[in-house]
Amino acid sequence: MNHNQQSSDGMHEDEAALSDFLASLMDYTPTIPDELVEHYLAKSGFQCPDVRLIRLVAVATQKFVAEVATDALQQCKARQATVVKDKRDKQQKDKRLMLTMEDLSRALHEYGVNVKHQEYFADSPSTGMDPASRDE
């Protein structure tokens, strides 16, 4: 009984938390616009007139993308750390953090998404060259 009571109390708390959260979502504007989310949800058959749920889905997607991006950022920083060790005298050439396919594919591998990209296309004279020296 106690356990049930505790769990029911817990349930109430959770539900309360959830409903509060959904209410607070109306103040928070997700980065992914509502119209876009509605379009893709309608395409997949999701039917719901409630705006809060749309916001919930938008926020969930935003969280997912942010997680992937964070992992890719860590990969990028890790790579920069290894590079900089060799050339301490020279100013750090690639100060800017750039999202590249390599980092992204490594980050996505943990999520079970297999993203591979071509090493090179032999269609221009600069193919096969070191990416750092290529003019970007």
Partner: protein, 369 residues
């Protein structure tokens, strides 16, 4: 493969154009998603992106969104509903995150409201800063109102059969599918047409050939004898310039109008000259208005006259100007080259060109005569 680093602010217009050309049916949605994903990545800490990486991440985000919708719908249908609620979404989230693992994944009987996913999202909303989308997004896709075919009732028509109800779309008008032939009402007389056509051709040939003979025999600067048979209409008294006399005596036999144009030059020399007026008569009529004024402007001495003056002719055809350049600047010697060119060209084309080209010389010669 790198397309070059693309800034979040997207200053590179060429990339924009290339990207827009690649858009498919869902182009607008993809473009908006790309911007949103870029904004998220920027908030995480990235300062620039590779274009291909950004597109891949956009693809994944769209897939995630669609999969979430599908899963939520599936769970709602499973429960016998058509509309989804929050618990369907939470189940969907759990399913997508199952490979990653989230706190409470192993619990079976818990209330969904307390699932680790929800807590994780709540934390995220609490911690992450709010970044609204950069631009207002219109409602899409836009639904166009189709213009329907009006029904029988709307057209105030009775359907042709009793079996056709009046609210159905009306049948098309008969003129859209019945072809009635249209006859030419004009009365034609083929014989008279042919005769008229032959007459005009003869007229043109006559003038062309006589003109050609004339020009070949004494060059561009020449005079002509007064013709006994004349079609003189505008000008009377064409006097022969004694200083520009022809080797033959005037008044000799008239040349027959039907002459083969491919005869060599020395044979032509033996012929008499037909009056310029007669040769040019049909052409004179055509271009009378244009030439009469300009022709009188002090063109006494041919070589000194600038071709630019004569280019003001109102008929203004290009080859008129060219022919004048040829005739004035290069002098008499052009006659020989004309012959050569004539032999090469087509008969009809030659005739037409001759008529129009030499009409401009006519007013000069008139003033000299």
């Amino acid at each position: 493969m790198s397309h070059g680093g693309v800034n979040v602010t997207r200053g590179n217009e060429q990339e924009d154009r290339d990207a827009s050309r690649r858009l498919g049916a869902d182009g607008f949605g993809r473009a908006v998603s790309k911007v949103a994903v870029a904004q998220i990545c920027e908030s995480v800490g990235f300062q620039s992106f590779k274009d291909s990486a950004l597109e891949a991440l956009t693809d994944i985000a769209i897939r995630y969104l669609s999969d979430l919708g599908k899963t939520a719908r599936f769970y709602a249908n499973l429960a016998g509903r058509t509309e989804c609620n929050v618990f369907d979404i939470v189940r969907g989230l759990e399913e997508l995150e199952a490979s990653q693992g989230f706190p409470g994944a192993s619990e079976v009987n818990n209330c969904l409201a307390g699932s680790g996913m929800v807590r994780g999202i709540i934390e995220y909303v609490g911690s992450a800063e709010e970044i609204p989308f950069a631009q207002p997004v219109p409602q899409f896709p836009v639904i166009k109102n189709r213009k329907l075919i009006p029904s029988f009732v709307q057209m105030d028509e009775m359907p042709p059969g009793k079996h056709i109800p009046a609210w159905l779309p009306a049948l098309p008008d008969p003129h859209t599918y019945i072809h009635t032939p249209v006859w030419n009402e004009r009365a034609t007389d083929p014989r008279a047409d042919k005769m008229e056509q032959a007459r005009q051709r003869r007229k043109a040939e006559r003038s062309l050939l006589s003109l050609q003979q004339r020009l070949l025999s004494d060059g561009s600067v020449g005079t002509s004898a007064l013709a006994s048979s004349s079609d003189v209409k505008e000008l009377d008294g064409v006097d022969k310039n004694p200083f520009l006399g022809t080797p033959l005596q005037p008044g000799q036999k008239d040349v027959s109008p039907v002459v083969l144009p491919s005869k060599p030059l020395d044979e032509m020399v033996g012929r008499n000259h037909i009056s310029v007026l007669e040769a040019f008569a049909p052409a004179i009529e055509a271009v009378k208005g244009g030439f009469s004024d300009d022709g009188e402007d002090g063109k006494k001495v041919l070589p000194d006259v600038r071709p630019a003056v004569q280019l003001k002719f109102r008929t203004g055809k290009k080859f008129l100007g060219e022919s004048l350049d040829l005739s004035l600047q290069k002098g008499v010697g052009r006659a020989a080259s004309w012959v050569a060119r004539d032999d090469e060209r087509d008969d009809k084309k030659r005739r037409a060109e001759f008529i129009l080209r030499h009409t401009t010389e006519f007013p000069q010669e008139l003033s000299q005569l």
